[in-house]
């Protein structure tokens, strides 16, 4: 009797294996050289398209009037995303029989596999897709992430690339958007406020200095005259911390703009009797907080 039960159990297990084999057969399409060739061709085509779009958009954005530069640059990630999506859909359909049950089986398997093997990579990709719509940064923006400040020059599958003032290229994964603060200076527009710090002694003529700073800003060839210029003062134990807030016409000119204002102001203030603090402030960070 027990032998019969064991036999029937074995037969049942063999049936399950047969079913599983059938399921895999249903899931995968017939493999052929032609399919591999088409897949390779589509990957190559997608690669060429991605490279072409990147190069064309980069070139075109530098040729058109400044006003359209960011619009063109910002279209790159969407176009690249579309190409990748089309490629994945095509390759999956080449090798896999996409039906409802198959899709469930496949995504379940993939979720487990990717969850263990490529967790961080997948997190970054998903964060990248979300960031496309939430737009904490776009190509052409000036952002600060961790201690890195620069222009977003590339928006990849896994992360972005920042071009810093020191001409470094910093790669930052999209997954940073889940956990870190993203400081975006211009958020898609050409202009962003630039703060230039000055330090004056308690005895300095603040009215005259403020007047010189306004004129220095308005004189600079980089300034966006359509936006306001503001000088704000803060009292410190060692003197007065003066901040000049103004906008350059193009955020790319930020270092040149700040240098131009400083040079003009310092030249003009050289004739003033008392200007700079007698006790030097301790500068702790790049934003000039003492």
């Amino acid at each position: 009797m027990s032998s019969l039960v064991w036999l029937s159990s074995c037969l049942a297990q063999m049936g399950t294996l047969d079913n599983a084999d059938n399921a895999v057969d249903d899931l995968l399409r017939e493999l052929s050289i032609d399919r591999f060739f088409r897949a390779a061709l589509s990957v190559l085509l997608a690669y060429l398209l991605l490279t072409g779009i990147q190069s064309l958009a980069n070139w075109l954005s530098e040729q058109v009037p400044r006003r359209f530069r960011l619009t063109i640059k910002q279209s790159i990630p969407f176009l690249k995303g579309l190409i990748l999506l089309a490629l994945i859909a095509y390759v999956v359909r080449l090798f896999i029989n996409v039906s409802g049950p198959n899709l469930v089986a496949l995504t379940g398997t993939l979720a487990v596999a990717l969850g263990f093997a490529f967790k961080d990579y997948i997190t970054s990709i998903i964060a990248g897709v979300v960031a496309l719509f939430e737009a904490p940064y776009r190509v052409g923006d000036r952002v600060t992430i961790d201690d890195h400040y620069g222009e977003v020059v590339s928006y990849g599958l896994r992360g972005i690339r920042l071009h810093t003032f020191d001409d470094d290229l910093v790669t930052i994964p999209h997954s940073k958007t889940w956990t870190d603060a993203i400081v975006n200076a211009n958020s898609g527009s050409l202009e962003a406020q630039v703060v230039t710090d000055f330090y004056a002694d308690h005895e300095a003529d603040l009215e005259a200095i403020t007047d010189v700073l306004y004129q220095a800003a308005y004189s600079s060839r980089f300034i966006q005259l359509k936006l306001p210029v503001v000088v704000v003062l803060a009292e410190m134990p060692w003197g007065t911390h003066i901040k000049l807030r103004a906008y350059p016409m193009d955020i790319r000119d930020e270092p040149a703009f700040r240098s131009d204002i400083l040079r003009r102001a310092k030249t003009a203030l050289a004739n003033h009797p008392v200007v700079y603090p007698k006790i030097k402030p301790l500068i702790s960070s790049r934003d000039g907080e003492a």
Partner: protein
């Protein structure tokens, strides 16, 4: 911005169609531009061509209207800023308009428009002084005698109107400042003085780009609140103004104009391209002249003042020249010239915060490309390039003359 783009495209399409149409009459391949010697002669004649009477009359009416209102109403503005593009000689237009209504120069002038005031020109310079920091001192010195009379008690009385007899004509406002620290103190002083000296009427020519800048940095529009734009030269005005000079160049007055292409250009397209500015129109008209290749002499001789061209000439639909590729500093250099008008290189260097040698090199390059011209007073914009430059600056986020508030 999209409007500008569509306007440019439609203008280019129209010009292309018109050129194709004229090419069906005479092949443009057979036509050549004037030789440089003759081109210079025709250019000099165009330069001496006085502005149309109707154009000057419009300006004169506007001035007379503003001054009459000031003489009759205590609260009327005591200044008028005449605004023109950076390539228009607004000061010359102002002078010509005032002359046209001066009784001594024109006894037949309509009594309603005739001058009933005394005109003073306390500053004789038309170009910026060599030391821009001395502008305020020069203004103060020239205008210090114009203090209020002693019996003025600081309050307005109807009798004050009788003292309103003096009109002060100032140099172009763009020549009264330089964009650098301390560079527009003179304009600030002028602004305050004009507001305080209400017994004088202040006539000030200025270009729109300088006005837009000064409005932002020292709020001149709050004090000098009455402005008038130069009138537009429309299609008919341009045709009536320029066609006669074409006739004086034709080989024989009896020549049948229909046998040549003279005058067969689209004046509405011409007016659109010249943006209704006489200075741009002069150059565009010059660019429209052509000679048949077979008629071109080997060594053309300069023309005498009243000579006609010794060979038949034709007109084709003119086009605006393309802009060369501009570098980053070129934009700032050209923008500074738009704002300041004619400016020497040393002052441009001071304004741009760049060494004079660099400004010299870029200025020379732009001059060779035809964008700038050089005179004894300094560099300035070549008027024919103005329409495209203005559009280029608007697209590149610069403050332009259209950004006046």
């Amino acid at each position: 911005m999209v409007g500008e783009f569509v306007k440019t495209i439609s203008s280019q399409l129209k010009t292309g169609l018109l050129r194709a149409q004229s090419a069906s009459q005479i092949s443009e391949n057979q036509l050549q531009p004037l030789p440089p010697v003759w081109e210079l002669d025709v250019w000099q004649r165009l330069q001496t061509l006085p502005l149309p009477d109707t154009y000057l009359a419009t300006v004169a009416d506007r001035i007379a209207q503003a001054i009459t209102a000031w003489q009759k109403n205590l609260d009327a503005p005591n200044s008028l800023v005449l605004l023109g593009s950076p390539v228009d000689d607004t000061a010359a237009v102002l002078t010509a308009a005032l002359t046209s209504i001066a009784p001594e120069a024109n006894p037949d002038v309509d009594p309603e428009r005739a001058q009933r005031w005394q005109t003073l020109r306390p500053l004789d310079w038309m170009a910026r002084p060599a030391d821009p920091m001395s502008i305020k001192a020069q203004l103060v010195k020239a205008l210090e005698q114009l203090s209020e009379t002693d019996e003025d008690d600081g309050e307005d009385h109807p009798n004050d109107l009788s003292r309103r007899q003096t009109v002060i004509v100032l140099p172009p406002l763009e020549q009264c400042f330089l964009r650098c620290i301390g560079g527009w103190q003179g304009v600030e002083w002028l602004r305050d003085t004009a507001g305080a000296q209400r017994d004088f009427f202040w006539l000030i020519p200025c270009n729109t780009w300088a006005w837009a800048f000064l409005t932002r940095v020292c709020q001149v529009d709050a004090y000098l609140d009455q402005t008038a734009d130069l009138p537009h030269l429309d299609r008919d005005g341009l045709c009536d103004w320029l066609t006669p000079i074409g006739e004086t160049l034709a080989n024989s007055p009896a020549e049948d104009l229909s046998s040549s292409v003279l005058g067969k250009i689209s004046w509405s397209n011409f007016a659109e391209m010249s943006e209704d500015s006489p200075e741009i129109a002069r150059l565009l008209w010059l660019r429209s002249l052509r000679l048949q290749a077979a008629d071109l002499p080997e060594q053309p001789q300069p023309l005498k003042p009243d000579d006609v061209l010794p060979v038949p000439f034709y007109q084709v639909q003119p086009t605006l020249p393309s802009l060369p590729d501009l570098e980053a500093l070129d934009y700032h250099l050209v923008h500074a010239l738009m704002m300041h008008g004619v400016t020497p290189r040393s002052q441009l260097a001071l304004s741009l915060g760049q060494p004079e040698s660099i400004v010299h090199v870029r200025g020379q390059t732009l001059r060779q490309a035809g964008v700038l011209r050089l005179s004894r007073q300094g560099l300035s914009i070549q008027p024919i390039h103005y329409p495209r430059l203005a559009s280029e600056f608007a697209s590149n986020n610069f403050l332009t003359g259209d950004d006046r508030r």
